[in-house]
Symmetry: D2
Subunit: 411 residues, 4 copies
């Protein structure tokens, strides 16, 4: 890859999928844009490399991977006589390329710390609209597909549903980079089994075991990677660090910070601010992992003891301990820990909530309440996977998918 | 992996080698040390991900991988009746774990920009000595092996020679993460073919094709990855950015910077300074990719036009063009480009050397002048690979391994 | 590998596990024996390559693979302070190497066609005893372990239980060679999680998701590969071909056949015959896939129309159709098909059972009634996986693991 | 895959390439034909599994793999604006599918043992013509392409030239199944670099390192696999077994044999016979590995001592020793060995040539005298790889590619 020639038909080496072609000029232009290049500097799995050192792949790579899988999916659907024209191919690929463009750094943890009541999907849409202006309206269909407003609904489902190419790429990629072989899925086979019925994405019946495997892999990746205890602990510590920094900023305490991060620390930015002026989006589009971590590294020497202690712990991997249970922790348990904390870390006495806290984590590997994975039966009818699979029948809803956690320092 | 329990016998998931065991407490202690944890934040291949987006693996992963291969190598040598005791195993693994500990961020490019006349090997040794103090002298044998002062010379060769486990890991790992399949080597087979003769590492004769392949892979990785045009261009731009920043710093111009980076920008640190006080090493041990890139991102808006322009180009992947040739570029070629530069980018008129420059790049895949790869013949004699291999005989020295480059902006 | 040198410490290239070392002379001697070499000519998955053309790996490769995994398993248990001496290592590796030595060709289908009331385990034991004689009693401990008579029970469990290295190798290998990625298991991680409690093999609690994945993979491989419709059909056709050939042989009809196969066709060999003389075992030890398929190829031109028709269908992949259901097929369904058969293939009128037949197939991915997979809880207690796993709790027994099939020709 | 439904658009699982689609009915019909199904029973690498137990893949799999790569190659050329219509795609895929259809069992060794002066290419062509008749002339273009008679010459080059998809598949596949990682090539990248210039296949200049790697891999596979000493020895033994069997057959000695093999043993079939009647081709189309090996197994007990001894040695892997040298063996060396032979194996006294013999083996990894690999330079000119590559320049012709061997029994 390289922008040194005028030719925009590029091929990119991807360790997961092999060679990824950039098939249309507009896709090349999106990739070259600074909004998209920013994704090079945002890790897909945030702090997960604290546990799995290989998991340092970026949102940039993931976005390219989804574009590749979208291409495969559309080719397969065309072979099955779906009528999809070149404009739709181009738009669907543009849409999936941009589907995560609004993610901030460590977004799983920081989605509600850096900005307040605006989701990454909303920011993605704001950015897509900006890009659409700059590209003279060429992204209109892509945005329609992204928003679910395009007539062919199944195109939107390929971007966001329980069987979208987003999940297929991230499961394969996260499994590849963490080295957790249990997360390997047969994406090639699933894509071959996709079809469309009544404008909706379905999986042909003979693909049912691949779906079983897909859900299993997803469930295991949740427990083993996405909700790994040490990762959860690190993420909560990161949230608390940002929370503390914002408290200090509100008190006008000086904090080392890149200008883009300072903008969000010292101004309490809300959704409404994004709509009022360009400044929030401009600053947001400059933020990446480097702003956060370079600041945290400096804060390890800040005079606020809570801030510097939390930052040192995170940087040097001296994480808070975390306990997981199926039922809630009691007030007594919390109370005892807080008492010990005040003895051992007296500087935390006024704000024990930074060190001792509880909450829940949930495994969303299959969500009943949302759109389903639908199986196309041999008789042409369509049924939810939970009604068809031996494995998941009746039990999908029973899976213990929620756990309670309690964090506290090693004393 | 996790430091939440007292048990130091950990297993780490590695996408390249599978499960890597931490076999001795001292190895765990090295890994947990902030010097070593810093390597998590230094990419092995610097700016290479500009071309190969997957190449974002870190020196941390590489160091663990070399420890794994060292273990394999020592097991194989023991099977061949080499007498290696447990202390030596522990020391050799510690030494390889720390062999790159003194690398700075983007060290391939910045080795002589951030600090002046001190190599990363020298800094590694300084850090090892500090660690040895902190670990009560437990690293003495490791340091001896690292320095080549230990009686069993072949242990040092496993750490640094033309067939060391350093190269075996980085070829496999760089190939894996870039997706360049041509770089795949049969490290398993090479390790099986290693032996010791007269205290020196040799390869048994039947392993000769694996060595041919190893040298081929290495040569190809040089041209295709390590010396890739766009990567070279990016690296030279990075060097020029740091050079410009230091010039400005010398003029007391204000530059956004993390404190650790500022220390090196505003003080002209030399080897002698490392010997005089702890401050240089302390600051160096805080420096990583995050300091560099977060600063460069901010400098894209600096009032010095050369600095901000170069930084914008690098961050937005608008690289200088680069031409490669087998012979040197002429003064006329340079002169013409400089004249055009002054017309098109007038702010560069006084310092065209930041934009138009020439130099050489070399492919060091096999270095005659250094220690050789020695083949153990069936009759017990030992010969240099270049005398034995059909492929490399007489021609190793002839390989065109040097190219001239010329960089300049797209006008 | 090669027997041209005197050195018995060989290394074998295995596409699945990499390099497999033969660590002891006795293992080399077993491998070189004609009993074991015969396994080179017996495919692990019988006729499965009719559906998955890559699935032509042999029992020879599988046996070597299990020896490799046994070595890994024992190494891990030793790290966990299990006291296992070198004789036990040697014996456990010999035992697993020979665990399938008594398998005949297409044994999944033909176990009760070629010989009558003797299992492959019994023939394996007969062969082991012969080998033990020839090797001067050196296999005594190995045979004890194989039979479950050795004091350290967990060694026997590594050879035969629901978590034995047999399954771990065949799942990985079958998945690799069929290309069914859903069957990939994390054998490396499972082996790392094994431990021993009260002389029994257990899995440490944190390995529970790997076990979930192992059971999932196993279940999927059953439906997608081992019980694949077309494979079942081919296997039943093979059974019927042998049955028919034996009927003709009993009538003294001449049949082309290798001498070893002729021995079993023309003599009705029972278990008792194996005990009375050496001849049955001698002949059995000559039988492999080549005897069966070369004969069947010739029988495609036999004058018995049922035999030649069935053989032609099998060789030219014109298989019987097969229907699967959760409940039994009715007599009416069978009767109708038999009536059609008599019209369309009149030569089959007297023996419709060769063409139209029904039965059941079962998925034994986890067998409640047999030894369990036991999980070592954090409190030191041991529980069955079905009581611990979210996924399998209460539901393992409910899995629809039995299906009814009906075979008949495409008319 | 399965022929149980009427749908001919099948997908086949391939461990090397993933999912292979059968895109046209005629391709399905070729695959289902007994000529092609026979390839399921012919191993690609003959006796190589004696050394590499995993190398038991079949010509059937290889043929499907080449069809897959042909599809990829044609897709890439179309992207580069080559005008290739659907009939040509279909024909090129049919042609590559059938390119090896005339191979007999162990054809590398037996090409001139079973039939006399007719090559496998000629038999392939005879079979193609038969198929063309049966398929109503639908294979005409395919046959033209196969024979090099079709106007677009580059299509023929994709089937047979130094960069054909035949080699690309077999290098990858042989490397995969042997486990020899040194043979891995970047076929994806090579296919991406292909182009057409003046109706001839060329490689774009930036693909030159992939070609270097391709030639390296090929060279190493020759020495490490195709010309492996033990494999050569086994192949010569097989040739001698067939030679001996034919001598005995000419003397009307009875030999167990399948009818198809008997036809060739007892009749001295020449090319002219193939042209005179259908019988030779009919019998040839029934021959596969199973005929050869099942007969050899029975011959281990033949009363001719030379035949039975050679067969026993081959089946039980007690191979002749083989020495390799760069220069010829002397008459004295041969004479001495023959004298020892007569003492040790007196039954061989009259025919020592079955046990002691010499000859040459050649590594044809790049053949100067044949069509070249052409590189498309940046200036539009075309040059032979040997003029462009640093590695191969001037030296390709110097590679020691011929070795002398001497076979003899271990005495």
């Amino acid at each position: 890859m390289g922008n040194t020639s005028g030719n925009k038909k590029k091929i990119i080496n991807d360790p997961v999928h092999g060679f990824i072609s950039i098939s249309h000029n507009i896709l090349f232009d999106i990739i070259e844009h600074s909004y998209f290049q920013r994704l090079r500097r945002i890790k897909q799995l945030g702090l997960t490399d604290i546990v799995y050192p290989g998991a340092i792949h970026t949102r940039f790579q993931h976005a390219l991977g989804t574009m590749f899988l979208m291409d495969e999916a559309l080719k397969n659907l065309k072979l099955k006589k779906q009528n999809i024209n070149n404009d739709e191919v181009k738009a669907a690929k543009a849409a999936i390329l941009m589907h995560d463009i609004g993610h901030g750094p460590f977004s799983h943890a920081l989605e509600h710390s850096i900005v307040n009541d605006i989701s990454h999907e909303e920011i993605s849409l704001l950015m897509m609209k900006k890009l659409n202006e700059q590209f003279f309206g060429k992204l209109k269909i892509a945005i329609d597909i992204f928003q679910g407003n395009y007539p062919k609904k199944y195109l939107s489902q390929l971007i966001s549903s329980q069987l979208d190419v987003d999940r297929m790429d991230y499961l394969r990629r996260d499994s590849f980079y963490t080295g957790v072989s249990e997360g390997v899925i047969g994406s090639g086979r699933i894509l071959n089994m996709l079809n469309v019925k009544d404008d909706s994405l379905v999986v042909e019946h003979k693909g049912i075991y691949s779906i079983d495997n897909f859900l299993n892999a997803r469930r295991i990746m949740y427990w083993q990677v996405y909700l790994h205890k040490a990762v959860l602990s690190a993420e909560f510590m990161l949230i608390n660090i940002l929370k503390r920094a914002k408290v200090l900023a509100a008190q006008n305490v000086e904090l080392f910070s890149t200008p883009a991060l300072a903008f969000f620390l010292y101004n309490n930015i809300q959704k409404v601010d994004f709509l009022k002026s360009d400044e929030p989006l401009e600053n947001f589009s400059l933020l990446d992992d480097f702003d956060i971590l370079s600041s945290i590294k400096v804060w390890t020497k800040h005079k606020d003891l809570i801030l510097s202690d939390l930052c040192s712990r995170l940087i040097n991997r001296n994480l808070l301990k975390i306990s997981l249970k199926d039922d809630a922790f009691t007030k007594e348990e919390l109370g005892n820990l807080i008492r010990t904390l005040k003895l051992k870390l007296p500087f935390a006495a006024e704000h024990p909530e930074y060190y001792v806290f509880t909450g829940t984590s949930e495994n969303h590997f299959y969500d009943y309440s949302k759109d389903n994975i639908n199986i196309l039966m041999k008789d042409g009818s369509v049924k939810d996977i939970s009604l068809v699979s031996d494995q998941w029948n009746s039990s999908l809803s029973n899976f213990a998918s929620k756990k309670f956690f309690l964090c506290y320092p090693k004393f």
